[in-house]
């Protein structure tokens, strides 16, 4: 569409400028420009003949401020030329992208052919009309108990993993990508994977995992690795989501998007902001970080009358494991919950080390219960949470006062917390538990308490389910005596 014959005005505008007056960090100032537009795509030709891409951040009269995605190394003032392309950054899209690998700006790097586009879309997308949204409520079984049972993921949700350096977030993300399914449905699915500033090794882990399981043919990968230009990362999540929107809402696929590592993305954004000398917000990140992240995360969801969906799992490493750092903090304010990994559990060799208490899936309530998982699901998770929380409190108390100072009941909770971490949270990297197995495991663990302690479970479910696990309770009680 855009390759139509250029109008007279556009032809004139496509002239080259050799009028760079200032280069600072990733930014260029070009003067004497006619008709530059805000957010316009720019092509920069270095003296070596190398071409780079950029985007207009601000225009004032005939001066355009341009951010260069591949950085400004090697760029000089007298020889470098700049062309304004009279359009935003667009991504060519087609079904043939499945199975392919691209760089962070969407250029093929797997040696395969260029994409012959079905459509081209601006990578910034447009906001989904809130009135057009359909509420995400379809349960996704990930086979991971700590997620399915306690932090249930639903189709169209955005649920980040808050991790720390050295924690197995990539393994968990790969496990989710491998195992995620909607019960009783055989539908077209796809994975779109965006890497921002991660190492070759980490990227390689995902690619191999996708290859092993054959998922690669249903995947589109965008890789901006640690040694790739940092500013390019600003475009990567947008390129990823533009692809996801196309697959989901044009081609009716259920798309799982994994973005890793959002921390690197935010650092690139901070670099631009610093170069523009903007008033910094907390820890030097720009004041608009919230809005910027929202324009990425909010692209997940469902749309009324469309078959496809976008489920988004961004991964970020919290600097110093600090949840109040602006990146996890602002992410948490936008996403529909968070899965937090814990270093303490990791040290106890528990995989996946999901910190159950501060983790939360806000959409779980709509995705569970009769007809979706099982009638007793809500009560069971309320009770597991309460019991685990009390167990953790008892363990804290015991650190100060010694275990002997605990009441008998608190000792029971103490023990429960340990068993719960080991058996419920902990599981194998290749272990896939059905939701029924997960729920039954919950009952089994809770049956160690006297019935009166199970206040959060309705009587009718206690009557129905508890007796099945009662034997267990008697045995344990017997042992104690």
């Amino acid at each position: 569409m855009k390759s139509r014959v250029l109008s007279g005005e556009n032809l004139k505008r496509l002239k080259e400028y050799r009028t760079i007056t200032d280069v600072s960090g990733p930014l260029l100032l070009v003067e004497g420009v006619e008709g530059a537009k805000y957010a316009e795509l720019v092509e920069i030709t270095l003296p070596s003949g190398e071409k780079r891409r950029g985007q207009v951040l601000q225009v004032e009269e005939d001066k355009a401020l341009v951010q260069v995605f591949e950085g400004t190394t090697g760029l000089d003032i007298p020889e470098t030329t700049v062309r304004f392309l009279a359009r935003g950054i667009e991504l060519p899209l087609s079904q043939d992208m499945l199975g392919r690998v691209f760089d962070g700006l969407g250029r093929p790097i797997d040696g395969g052919p260029e994409i012959i586009p079905d459509v081209r879309r601006d990578i910034n997308g447009s906001p989904i009309n809130p009135y057009a949204r359909d509420y995400p409520n379809e349960f996704i079984q990930t086979g991971v108990s700590a997620i399915d049972g306690l932090n249930t993921l639903v189709r169209g949700q955005k649920l980040p993993i808050f991790s720390g350096s050295g924690l197995p977030h990539n393994r968990l993300a790969a496990q989710i990508a491998r195992q995620a399914r909607v019960l009783g449905a055989e539908e077209e699915f796809a994975v779109v994977f965006g890497a921002m500033g991660i190492t070759f090794e980490e990227a390689d882990f995902f690619i191999n995992d996708f290859k092993k399981t054959g998922a690669i043919s249903r995947s589109v990968l965008y890789l901006n690795l640690a040694d790739d230009p940092a500013i390019e990362r600003i475009a990567t999540p947008r390129v990823v989501l533009t692809t996801a929107e196309y697959l989901a809402f044009d081609l009716d696929m259920h798309v799982l998007v994994i973005l890793t590592d959002m921390t690197n993305y935010c650092e690139a954004l901070r670099e631009i902001s610093a170069a523009r000398k903007e008033v910094p917000g907390r820890r030097g990140y720009p004041g608009y970080l919230y809005t910027d992240l929202a324009t990425i995360y909010e692209r997940a969801g469902r749309i009324k009358g469309k078959k496809g969906s976008i489920t988004l799992i961004p991964i970020l490493t919290m600097p110093e494991d600090d949840k109040t750092h602006p990146i996890p903090d602002l992410t948490g304010y936008i996403t529909e919950g968070q899965i937090i990994l814990s270093r303490a559990l990791h040290r106890k060799k528990i995989y996946p080390p999901i910190d159950v208490l501060p983790s939360l899936s806000r959409l779980k309530d709509k995705g569970i219960g009769e007809g979706k998982t099982r009638e007793d699901h809500a009560d069971i998770f309320n009770q597991l949470f309460a019991a685990y929380a009390r167990g953790k409190e008892a363990q804290e108390l015991a650190v100060i006062l010694g275990e002997a100072a605990l009441s008998d009941l608190d000792k029971l909770y103490y023990r429960f917390a340990d068993i719960f971490e080991e058996r419920y949270v902990g599981q194998g990297e290749y272990e896939e538990r059905s939701i029924i197995e997960t729920l039954d495991l919950g009952w089994e663990l809770l049956s160690m308490f006297p019935r009166a302690e199970l206040k959060r479970i309705r009587d009718k479910y206690l009557d129905k389910y508890l007796p099945r696990f009662k034997k267990e309770e008697k045995k344990e009680a017997g042992e104690e005596r």
Binding site: V59, S126, P127
Partner: protein, 589 residues
Amino acid sequence: MKEGRIVKVAGPLVVAEGMSGQKMYDVALVSEKRLLGEIIELKGDLASIQVYEETGGVGPGEPVYPTGAPLSVELGPGLIESIYDGIQRPLDVIREKVGDFITRGVSVPALDRNRKWHFVPRVKVGDVVEPGDIIGTVQETVLVEHRIMVPPGVKGEITHIEEGDFTVEDPVARVRTGKGEIEIKMYQKWPVRVPRPYKEKLLPDVPMVTGQRIIDTFFPVTKGGTACVPGPFGSGKTVIQHQLAKWSDADIVIYIGCGERGNEMTDVLIEFPELKDPRTGEPLMKRTVLVANTSNMPVAAREASVYTGITIAEYFRDMGYSVALMADSTSRWAEAMREISGRLEEMPGEEGYPAYLGARVASFYERAGRVITLGKDRREGSLTVIGAVSPPGGDLADPVVQATLRVVKVFWSLDDKLAYRRHFPAINWLTSYSLYRDTVKDYLDREISPDFYDMQTEAMRILSKEAELEEIVRLVGIEALSESDQLLLEVARSLREDFLHQNAFHEIDTYTSLKKQYLLLKLILYMYEKAKEALERGITVRELRQLPVWERIARAKYISEDKLEELEGIKKEIDDEIQGLIGGKSKEA
């Protein structure tokens, strides 16, 4: 009007020249795309315009068309059940026009121009009317009678008025004024940044009943009052706002999703038409207006959204209704202000927020209140404003929280520790406050019971004492406490788990009437009384803990509103079980 010319584009901010003679806060259309914007700074010939749509592809040299009118909303039949964006464009109509994604330059009137409403006059030819007088009504929904008022500034004698089916553009009446005859239509326009006038302000002294136990019993808000809910992410701000929008006994609810999630608005759109108002049995949507400028929608329109919402709210207040407005989240509004201010290169105040942050926040909340409206009949209307605040890292030192706390009268402090323990609503009972507690005492004495106030005080005493005792327990263990202190801890636990804890997603627990709140609280305190007596008669806390009646108390909140007499039954069980203990003891002796 004279055209201007763009000289600069930086994100949502556009600077144009040739703009002398324009007024602050007037609307201008930017570029041939005619993107809606508002003049927010004038410097000589230059005007800075904040643009309510994406500015990609716009550049210097393009035209700017001033409109000479300030940013206004349309007020008339058709507001209820609508969902608008931040500048009052109906999102359902936008979807019909341009599809599932919002594209630029869509222009749609806020009120349907074709729909006919049945207008019934309330005055007749010859009557003399003044601003605010109700000249007729339209049954807008089963719940809302829309009262058509004489707009501010119009005064005179009715020369024509008739009953019939009209669109909002049709004149329904004519008034002979000093300046000639004026036609009155069913809708009026009002600039969003100007508070609508009223006759006088009154002190709000009637509680707005929300059905949320911790709020109504301990930290009440009034009709016409102000409240804020600050808290870190995931602590329950939105759920509380939704709960208030659902269950408050206000006549009209305005819900502003300001820079928050799209799915939360969808949730409201799906749920509200299904939920029944406990007072009328009609769907809650029939009294609700939604303003949705989600986080991914243009940031300048987000700044405008709170004003759009509150102006609509004032309009219904002027009809003589009690209106409740929820804004989730005012922090996103403040951030939008900060972003625009940054682009204007204004001197930043704290955390980069503009120096006028406090003034803007204060004047927003000041638009709340209980008032005597314009009009000869001296109607009373009220507007309650409840804002969520989302401070970075949950830190209450945040400038937006601080600016808000300086003006609002109720502070519901959300605590992430409570949220992690799934104690919802995660309102911290030790740090929250309501300055209306004494103001609503008369009402509670009259409507519920004269001892309610003292019961609240007693319950709060138990809870604060618990916090003190827990410190001790942490150091030396529970056994070191006296029997009576141990009992107090038991009762405090019951207060927390069986009264304060309230599950928004449980069909019965989600709403508790004042009467039931009173009875539940009474039950727990009654148990405390009886248990204390038992202690005096030599019963131990250990024995008391074993009583089955605790579990009955724990489940009392699930008793439905039409079976409240069952609560009396539990009282009897308390008597019997404790009597049983005492009896058993004396037999042993």
